[in-house]
């Protein structure tokens, strides 16, 4: 049975308890020994998912371009989204991994075996969501869907810690029913909402989101593609070029050509000799 997260961004309060719980359970250290690092463009100072932050609460601070509002916030809106690995049904990282380090587990989650990964970093550029990152140890890291907790019947640390139930863990099918019901409820109440991560997003995401704005606003691609999408065309193009090189090579190497070349050369040489004269 596929397990996953349903992250309802409309009830997220940006407390980052999920990030903290993830760090604690997975023993992820602070960056730079805990030195303060500011993004400078947001109240969020984590920035994005990386090798040490497997959960990350994005702050989308939608403020009017002009800050002179006479004390009123006008049309401003803050969106919060706890981002995480999507554990895709068709996972780009798993697809490209040349060592077999990335596997699909019995919970249908996507897991990087640390004792197999050799740090080739193919998965990093393969993930259409920018989730996988390389750690200081040279290996690839991302959310494990708390594989160790799942094996013992516990829910992942982030879902356990979330105080507003913005992050819900469970069977993907059940969660999807819940998500659709919530989207319909919000839309009926005047806030158009939808589920991001159904089948049209690279075959479906086991960890999906409820959004109230365009995916791009949350830093999610609206039309992600698997890294392998253009690979077949690439090989065909490459083979055609190889054939073209072979054919032009054959033509260039033929004896007749060689004789023709001598003719070419003599023509080339002529102006030079006249120059000298």
């Amino acid at each position: 049975m596929a397990k996953g997260f349903f992250t309802d961004t409309t009830v997220c309060i940006g407390c980052k308890a999920c990030q903290v719980a993830c760090h604690e359970w997975n023993e992820l250290p602070a960056r730079e020994g805990g030195a303060t690092e500011l993004t400078g463009n947001s109240y969020d100072n984590t920035g994005h998912l990386n090798a040490l932050d497997w959960r990350h609460v994005r702050f989308i601070e939608q403020l009017p371009v002009s800050r002179e509002m006479n004390g009123f916030l006008g049309e401003s809106r803050w969106l919060m989204m706890s981002d995480v690995c999507k554990h895709c049904v068709r996972a780009g990282c798993l697809e490209v991994c040349p060592t077999g380090a990335i596997i699909r587990t019995e919970f249908d989650s996507v897991y990087i075996q640390q004792d197999v990964c050799n740090g080739c970093r193919a998965c990093i550029s393969a993930c259409p969501f920018g989730v996988v990152d390389v750690g200081e140890d040279g290996k690839a890291h991302k959310c494990t869907l708390c594989y160790d907790r799942l094996q013992h019947g516990l829910e992942p640390a982030c879902a356990k810690a979330c105080p507003t139930d913005s992050i819900r863990f469970g069977d993907v099918d059940d969660l999807m029913v819940l998500a659709e019901r919530r989207a319909a409820q919000l839309t009926a109440a005047g806030t158009p909402a939808y589920v991001y991560g159904k089948e049209e997003i690279v075959g479906g995401l086991n960890c999906f989101f409820l959004l109230v704005d365009e995916p791009e606003v949350y830093g999610l691609p609206s039309k992600p593609e698997l890294p392998s999408k253009n690979v077949a065309e690439g090989f065909v193009g490459s083979a055609a070029a190889a054939a073209a090189v072979a054919i032009t090579g054959l033509l260039s190497f033929r004896k007749e050509r060689m004789d023709a070349m001598h003719g070419d050369l003599e023509e080339e040489e002529r102006p030079r000799t006249t120059d000298r004269d």
Partner: protein
Amino acid sequence: MTDFLLQLATNPQSGYGLPPHWGWYIVLYFFLGGLAAGCYAIATLLDILGDRRDRDAVRLGYLLAFPLVVVCGVLLILDLGKPLRFWHMLVQSENVPELLLKPWSPISIGTWLVSTFGLFSFVSFVGALIETERLRWDVARRVDRRVRDLPRPLILLWEVLGVVSGFSLGGYTGVLVTGTSIPVWHNAWLMGALFLLSAASTSYALLMLLLMRHGRAHHDSTVSKLARGDRSAIVMEIAVLATMLLLLGALARPLIAGGFGVIFWLGVVIVGLLAPLVLHGVPWGRMTAERRAMLAAACVLVGGLCLRFVIVMAPQYPAVHPWAL
């Protein structure tokens, strides 16, 4: 549009693959791998079609290919986060005798191509060493004689397979970048063709340069064959590069604008593609045909390296605007 740009600027990781931190090891691997593959393929084609006078070029190609592919292997291993685990790409590490090949993963295919091509180029390398009497070990010489006495179709088949593995190595590096989620790379499905043509062109140039350095003249039959081949490769490369950029449209910005754009237009287009064609075709000042051909070959090599540099680095570290739309 501006909203979208603004939003992208505030969310720099907007839903696309993160840079895989490929640096000089990979740039050099793409360049030298192309040279290894190209030198081998050209040498083999010359071996099949050429005459006695082409033997020097054939041997030179074989003597270059294997050491180059060994350097490539070393570069690839050094690039890994865990270099000692390089064998995890060939063998299932938790299931040891079982081999690991994922034919849908370009990087997995590449691992095997480097290995297979290594085998083909090693055989030809030893053959060339014996032919030039650099290797005088009796056992090797006896094996060599046996092999050369094999029926011609069998040798031809081996050579064709070798050329196929060489061409595959030269082209797959382009497909490797297509098989990612980095927008410029992902959408450039002609990258494989481009890298292959560049591999062919730079290899023609390297062989010409080395042959002429040993006192061969430009009108020498082998050198002029290579020059002819190089010119057609360059023309095809220009056509593929132009088509690729047109298909990429606005996405091509990181490659052709900003700091990388300077390297692209100056290094790749002018020095690497246009200058060699002009130098080959039109007499220029008081320069002799030999000088011009050598300069053209050097330009092609510089251009090939610039091409790999821009294509590997620019999409990872776009200097202008992160997503350049």
